[in-house]
Symmetry: C4
């Protein structure tokens, strides 16, 4: 306890380990439950030819497999960000714990929008539902980051300016995904294009030196 206030149930602070443990459990299950959507059609006989099974794998299984890849990538990226965020956090109070649980709710629920997207990936409402789930995850993480920096929950070694910049980036990506839900109602594939362009562009920029240059610029503010 670092502050002078009297310690009550509301402002008690706890180590991060069990928050990390519970989070890792939820992430691991959300990553793995998705695989239950990858399956052959239910009525398939055991006595089919190799050509038939190949066709089933290609036609029935491929869409859900591709969605699985997308979702694993998304949840995995969320885990990486969550992991890096909590690495910088020293203590967690009750409200921060609640925020983390709300964030985990979105992670845990991800298999449902993914499953809807796998079956109805060409319908705006399916794309929008998925986009809102992803975006909400980013926004809830941004709220945690913002709360942590404003309530003295970070380790002393953390670069607060870089932390705030990462928070703004999470807000930006969160709003972008939520916004792409609207775009999906114009043409459903507009949303896909938007995701690929933004995420792809971000990946390319961060691999090249350009992003670093922009980063340094922002960091200097």
């Amino acid at each position: 306890m670092v502050d002078e206030q009297p310690v009550t149930a509301r402002n008690r602070r706890f180590p991060v380990d069990r928050h990390q443990g519970l989070s890792d459990g939820v992430f691991a299950i959300a990553m793995t439950l998705l695989v239950l959507d990858i399956k052959l059609p239910a009525g398939l006989s055991d006595d089919i030819t190799n050509a038939r099974l190949t066709a089933e794998l290609w036609q029935s299984v491929r869409p859900s497999f591709l969605t699985y890849l997308l979702s694993f990538f998304v949840i995995g990226s969320q885990w990486m960000a969550h992991h890096e965020m909590f690495h910088d956090i020293r203590l967690v109070d009750r409200r921060m714990g609640s925020y983390n649980l709300q964030y985990l709710l979105v992670i845990a629920v991800m298999p449902f929008p993914s499953s809807v997207l796998a079956d109805h990936g060409d319908l705006p409402v399916a794309v929008a539902l998925y986009a809102v789930a992803i975006g909400l995850g980013g926004l809830l993480r941004a709220r945690m980051q913002s709360y942590a920096v404003n309530n003295d929950l970070l380790k002393p070694s953390v670069d607060v300016a870089a932390w705030r910049k990462d928070t703004r980036a999470a807000v930006f990506f969160g709003l972008l995904f939520v916004g792409s839900a609207g775009v999906a109602y114009v043409r459903y594939w507009f949303a896909y294009v938007l995701w690929v362009v933004v995420l792809g562009g971000w990946a390319v920029l961060s691999r090249s030196g350009v992003w670093g240059l922009l980063r340094d610029r922002f960091a200097r503010r």
Copy 2:
């Protein structure tokens, strides 16, 4: 080992870490398994219109989603309380371990009453089953708290008076939920109203200063 008694299998004491690890695993799975109840109707064709899918999401999926939200909130709150309780515990003996397993049984079983409530939320027996599960969780946690303080399992820094007060609160909420099972047989929605009023009132009171004042009063006893 702090006491002078000879150490036998029955009074050996263990560190809390694996008890916490197993508990976090069970909590994470109980939180996440519930999402398997959120799904589109089984017979739904892949070639449906956007309007149809929207209607299905609203009519078929919304009830189970709302139950999921309720249950995630309940299990999440249980986790918070379990986390804060074990933070104050220094060692666990065999009986305490058994009590924790019994508590985890109730947590693990939660997806079933939640699923019944999602499908039949207007039937007294469904409401009562859910209420008993929640209430039993609170009572089993209270038993652990009571056992820990009476058997010298707490860390020296723990405020024993506050600990006993929390235990009484857990008993109160536990009995309230078990009692609401009876209320559900009068009118099923009486139980919902009771939960909302008590939990909502508690949340408001603990946010305002009133609860703190009452708390201080009790603590002084």
Copy 3:
């Protein structure tokens, strides 16, 4: 590394933490997956009366719920024993790790015999399958205990005589359960009676002082 032999891949020794972590994960899932067998009949309409739902809960759900209780108790007891065993283990080599994985295989598979027992608890083959699974778990744990004590994997503080005695008890219970599989073919309920008598007797004896007296006798050998 405590011995003088050259260190190779086969005799390298590792800390116990990840073995414990993986084990806790498998235990938590095995405990929780079982709950998926507790469900209302698939064809049940959403518009049923309270009396009908009560009857369904009593007739269709109760058997699987009772099996769930039994299985949770069994897996929970296995976890307690596994936890206490690993608490005394200092290091794990590759073979010990393999033994633990084989043990976890039996734990992970437990939901299947439990599910068969829930549906066909009056058929000898269902009872026998369950008995063999439980018994095998005990025997594999005994093998780990035996291997650990014979290969210098225990902490120095461990009472080796008590450890060997516990190992013999695990072998005894393991053989008893495997043997009860045969008994089930005479009358299926003979096996249930045997389990209740032996486990109940053991619980009563260990709560009373009798067991302690016998224990001391054995320990003196």
Copy 4:
């Protein structure tokens, strides 16, 4: 941080604990989810004879049980290798974390090819799918090992020559399994024979002294 380069988001290094925790979660679930494929035929009545249930267990359940054994063995072996690998790793940077997530994707997806193999184990495409999944796992692990040694992520005590040799072995087994996918298209059982011969031969060699001699030879290079 051991190097002189400026620390950026891309070259920050993190402790291994959460990577291990998430990995153990995914491994535990992948090991345990597979058991959901072991079940009695859906339409089976509750009022069947003992002979009928025995026949169902033998004919319907045995194939999926044997696949479960195979898959548990495979995932278990992967876990052992992952565990031993991470034991030697000191720090994880962002790219190493991504590689680990990609590896976990293959582990998490294993229940699907296993399930296909259980139902259609005599069709080349099912065997090939399984072989590619296993092989890919080995290759992705080899990539992690290679990256770790080339980017100074190992503990100082690690024998780099032995580490590189293990990496080559993982590449060899990975390519062998991917290659056996082609063999399955000649005769599906050629692949099974190949797996048994190679894995069996490796097990025998490593138990006898021969492997150690070869090992020493390679290590001297």
